[in-house]
Amino acid sequence: MITQPSHVPERLGLLATSAVDPFLTEELLKGEQVHGGIDLAKVVEPLPEDDSRWWVEPIRSLVEDAMFEFREDRTRADAWLAPRLHATLRLTRREAADKRLWNHIALAVAPDYVAWRHLSEPTVNRPERRIVAERFRGPADRQCFSRLWWAAELFRNGPDYGPVADACGNQDLVHTVLRMDVIDHRPTAQALVRLLRSGLVTTGREINGLCVAISTAGATLTYDVLAPDEPRDPAALRDWIAEAESAPPVERYELPNGPDEDPVPEESVAALTGYFTELFETAPVRGRKSGD
């Protein structure tokens, strides 16, 4: 397994996707050897120097803690890292939509984490262990770090990261739901977590069945009417970002706090939870006998 590059930058930067390929070597994708870091640094565009959010050390230290803590069960690292990465980086969605930032974290700052988390287990059909390239540079819901950040952003309930930890604790949920548009509606995201917590849906097939049913119903139903959300106050996020300068490292044992935005209206979450429960009970789920 690879270690960090011998040269890790001190500051985060922007790495254009078209500049990534020379460093995505066959050896890296097999998890055998990583680039040295010096050549990669030459193609990185710097971020503003006066912003303390771009220090690399807090990110490095988070991924190292995750690799140590979850060395026995690496998929469980997602639920731990997602809220902490989110609370450390303190990004706006506008900033998080820039794939170059995620490219830089995956290739320059923590390629060893990408390999540790996403190197495939050997199977009969694919005996060779391998990391899919999109874990380094790829769609927002697939890339190693951006998927965690977006999961945290879409599932947090105002400052509360509790729902994020629950959602990320279920690989099927994150995998299926992050690519669906319905999740952009906050009450929908919270209602899904409620169903997960209540134990109504747990397996991949159940989650898939539920998500198909929600999407299908969503084609004719407007969830915004069934479950209205409050407008967000942009000042809360800006204040939180401004506090990054003086913020201590995020808690390792307790969940950190997110930006002080209003939580999703409780009536809306309750209404959708009830509605989705009904939907699920009548939805076709592979492997479930009708009348179960």
Binding site: R93, V212, L221, V225, D229, P234
Partner: protein
């Protein structure tokens, strides 16, 4: 064509933007000129006044429901009208209720708020009429058929494919990755947020040619060159968009909500003619990910790109100019 299991209005809602104002970081507001939005293009350009420090934009809207919305025997009750702002790049979805202008009218108005921190490029704006039908709340009974585009950076309200053209010496550029392409006259990068053409200034005279104007043969050659670049761009963005499709469980591939979606909607009728764009998208996705048919499709993709780049016209003008030049040198 979607089939709905309940009664709906057959015609779409029409949506107009009626005002746009920016809230600046010092708390003041700037009411933008009407040139910030275009009803014909259905586009809003928030970058028009050159502000870089704005916090949010308020977009005033007016929507007209199709006839029949208020019919006394309508199948729906609890009618409400929502404006919904979405952005696929940043997963934003915000909605605002509009209010009816007159008790029995079909015009509704209101405004949506767009936060600058929430968007990187373009958002889209649609309106839905929602009611209770057969006892089911929240049924969508009509919507706009084409969303408005809100561009958070552009200074001109247009919908088309945005292109960024950059010039650089590939050998000496600070973007070191360009050095690998030092012997190419230009390259296309569609992995950036907006497709970008990098023109290699190491090719001597290329800038002079690209900047040439007037009516001489040079300007015709320039147009041909641009048509060639544009063909490359259209081809590359099509492949980029198709290769990056999201697939909804049970529903198949979905149109991207950003410029990639615009490109696909525009090109697909030429790639798979004669079918609805949704079906065309499914067919193309199946061919790319399936066992056969992808190679055969390349000619059609190239055709769709060439058409968009006006390559035939550019070539015809060059030939005409060359003929004229030859004739003049003979006499």
């Amino acid at each position: 064509m979607k089939i709905y299991p309940y009664k709906r209005l057959n015609r779409p809602i029409t949506l107009r933007v009626t005002s746009v104002s920016l809230k600046l970081s010092d708390g003041t507001r700037d009411q933008l000129e009407t040139t910030a939005y275009s009803t014909q293009q259905q586009a809003v350009a928030l970058g028009i006044a050159g502000h870089t420090d704005w916090v949010s934009a308020t977009i005033g809207l007016s929507a007209t429901l199709p006839p029949g919305a208020n019919a006394p025997d309508a199948a729906w009750s609890d009618l409400c009208v929502l404006a919904v702002l979405t952005d696929g790049e940043t997963n934003v979805r915000t909605s605002a209720e509009l209010t009816r202008d007159a008790p029995d009218g079909r015009d509704w108005s209101g405004s949506v708020e767009l936060l600058r921190d929430d968007h990187m490029g373009r958002a889209s704006l649609a309106v839905y009429a929602v009611g209770t039908v057969d006892g089911v709340r929240g049924r969508s009974i009509a919507e706009t058929d084409r969303s408005w585009l809100v561009d958070t950076a552009s200074d001109e309200p247009v919908r088309g494919l945005q292109l960024d053209v950059q010039t650089a010496s590939f050998k000496r550029s600070s973007r070191e990755w360009l050095q690998a392409y030092a012997d190419a006259p230009w390259i296309v990068d569609v992995s950036a947020r907006v497709p970008t053409v990098f023109v290699n200034t190491d090719v001597e005279g290329v800038m002079g040619l690209l900047d040439s104007n007037g009516s001489g043969v040079e300007s015709k050659v320039r147009d041909l060159l641009i048509a060639q670049m544009a063909t490359d761009v259209w081809t590359a963005v099509f492949h980029g968009a198709i290769g990056d499709l999201e697939v909804e469980p049970g529903a198949g591939p979905v149109f991207p909500t950003d410029w990639q979606g615009e490109v696909l909607r525009e090109m697909l009728p030429d790639v798979v003619p004669g079918v609805h764009v949704e079906e065309a998208l499914r067919q193309v996705h199946r061919r790319r990910t399936g066992d056969s048919g992808w190679v055969e499709l390349q000619t059609r993709i190239h055709y769709a790109a060439v058409r968009r780049a006006d390559a035939t016209k550019a070539l015809a003008y060059v030939i005409r100019s060359l003929e004229q030049m030859n004739r003049e040198s003979e006499t």
